[in-house]
């Protein structure tokens, strides 16, 4: 049976993993290569490296970081953040990424999805969508530029378009829940998952084991991504997967 994936996300700037609250007061959390390997050992099903560098100078180290991280990683490895052209994508793939994640660049030019999928296959293209509830209702708008710009587009409709254009997976982040640990937005995840044939990765709000159970059962997520909760203790992923298994969620355990 196809298992539900637990994906560890590393936020990286200038070659270091950082963690913080809403991108403020970033604290150094370690070396991406070491952390990725440790997460893999602990049972992560995939690793996502997200470049949150604000400046071009810091971003220049990305290929080197990806190369070092990929070297000892034998599980799927996705790289995102600031990829805005086919050339950017090629550089990241050549450095060792298996998949790339694009967000604002796909909103600005949806043909980029098809362009990268034609060259590397749909399985290598994840379209990331940052979505926020409208007036607290179960309607969701997609935001660009790291959540700064409302697009006026319905998040589920945009996900469907991304699928049609060749995306292999959707990484769906609830801006309302991001960083809260209060649980994933199961309404958002379910709406997207039921509207699509491709897998949906839920992100934003992951906290206790029950929040993961909920997003898989009620939210119908195919995978769940979290960042900071996994940095606090590397054994948590192993614990989480065992607890999910006990709760009847199919997971890859033992790894």
């Amino acid at each position: 049976m196809l298992t539900k994936r637990i994906i560890a996300c590393l936020d990286v700037t200038a070659g270091r993993v950082v963690k913080g609250v809403q991108f403020q007061r970033l604290r150094d959390a370690g070396d991406p290569a070491e952390l990725a390997a440790a997460h893999s050992q602990a049972g992560a099903d995939e690793v996502v490296l997200l470049d949150i560098s604000a400046t071009h100078e810091k971003r220049a180290t990305l290929a080197d970081t990806v190369r070092r991280t990929a070297r000892q990683l034998f599980i799927p490895f996705t790289v995102g953040g600031g990829i805005s052209s086919l050339d950017n994508a090629i550089a990241v793939f050549e450095a060792g990424a298996d998949k790339i994640s694009i967000n604002s660049a796909a909103l600005a030019d949806p043909s980029l999805i098809t362009c990268i999928a034609d060259r590397f296959g749909s399985q290598a293209v994840i379209v990331a969508i940052d979505a926020k509830r409208t007036n607290g209702e179960a309607r969701f708008q997609a935001y660009g530029s790291g959540g700064r710009n409302p697009t006026g587009r319905d998040a589920v409709a945009w996900a469907r378009e991304a699928e049609e254009r060749g995306a292999g997976e959707i990484l769906l982040t609830s801006m309302d829940r991001d960083g809260t640990g209060a649980g994933f937005d199961c309404d958002l995840t379910r709406a997207c998952s039921e509207a699509l044939r491709i897998p949906v990765i839920a992100s934003g709000g992951g906290g206790n084991t029950q929040s993961f159970v909920d997003v898989f059962e009620r939210g119908k997520a195919d995978a769940a991504l979290a960042a900071s909760i996994f940095h606090f203790g590397l054994h948590r992923i192993a614990d989480l997967k065992q607890e999910l298994g006990s709760a009847g969620i199919p997971v890859r355990w033992p790894c």
Partner: protein, 198 residues
């Protein structure tokens, strides 16, 4: 020397990296001459069944078939395994390598597609490729089409019905999953292939 076929599409970095990690003597190439000298051949496939046309254009199809005929161990990965069959409903009219008989097909509408993630193997006895790999082992898949369960099948997997996760017949081997992305289990399978007598 293991020759990893580069057909100028997709991403072969991961396969080469895994072979390097296993200290296997491997080269990534699109040169038919290198294929003619290969001790072993790995054909990773990504994308569409019709991409086999690129092999044809590069003179690789004949080179591969000739070398396989001479008994050299061959491993098809993902679409590379699907190409071992005669055809696929993904590209009607396109001929696979025809090393195994059968037609690849798409997943039923009842399940998510592509089939992405870790799924468990149902292993058959006596496989050299899967030596030491118990049934229930998880490996990483990502594909929208799959191969039928045929006589050469040595591992099955379930997603909206059963499909062939691995095949083996004489010097021919194929895996639908990505051993280079399947953690220690995947590396062991690649090592089993690397350790086969030439």
């Amino acid at each position: 020397m293991i020759v990893v076929i580069d057909y100028r599409a997709g991403n072969l970095t991961s396969v080469k990296k895994a072979l390097d990690h296993l200290r296997a003597d491997a080269v990534v190439t699109a040169d038919p001459e290198a294929v003619a000298q290969a001790d072993k051949i790995i054909l990773p496939g990504v994308g569409h069944f019709s991409a086999i046309a690129i092999l044809e254009q590069a003179g690789l199809r004949t080179a591969i078939l000739n070398r396989v005929e001479q008994g050299v161990p061959f491993l098809g990965v993902c679409v590379g395994m699907q190409w071992m069959f005669e055809s696929s409903t993904e590209a009607p009219g396109t001929h696979g390598l025809g090393l195994l008989s059968g037609t690849c097909g798409r997943f039923p509408d009842s399940v998510k597609s592509p089939h992405v993630g870790w799924n468990s193997l149902i292993c058959h006895d006596g496989s050299r490729l899967l030596r030491g790999i118990p049934s229930g082992s998880f490996v990483y898949f990502t594909h929208s089409y799959s191969s039928p369960v045929v006589k050469a099948t040595v591992a099955r997997c379930e997603h909206g019905g059963e499909f062939a996760a691995a095949v083996e017949q004489g010097n021919l081997f194929g895996v639908q999953f990505h051993p280079e992305k399947s953690g220690p289990i995947g590396l062991k399978i690649l090592k089993n292939f690397c350790c086969l007598p030439c």
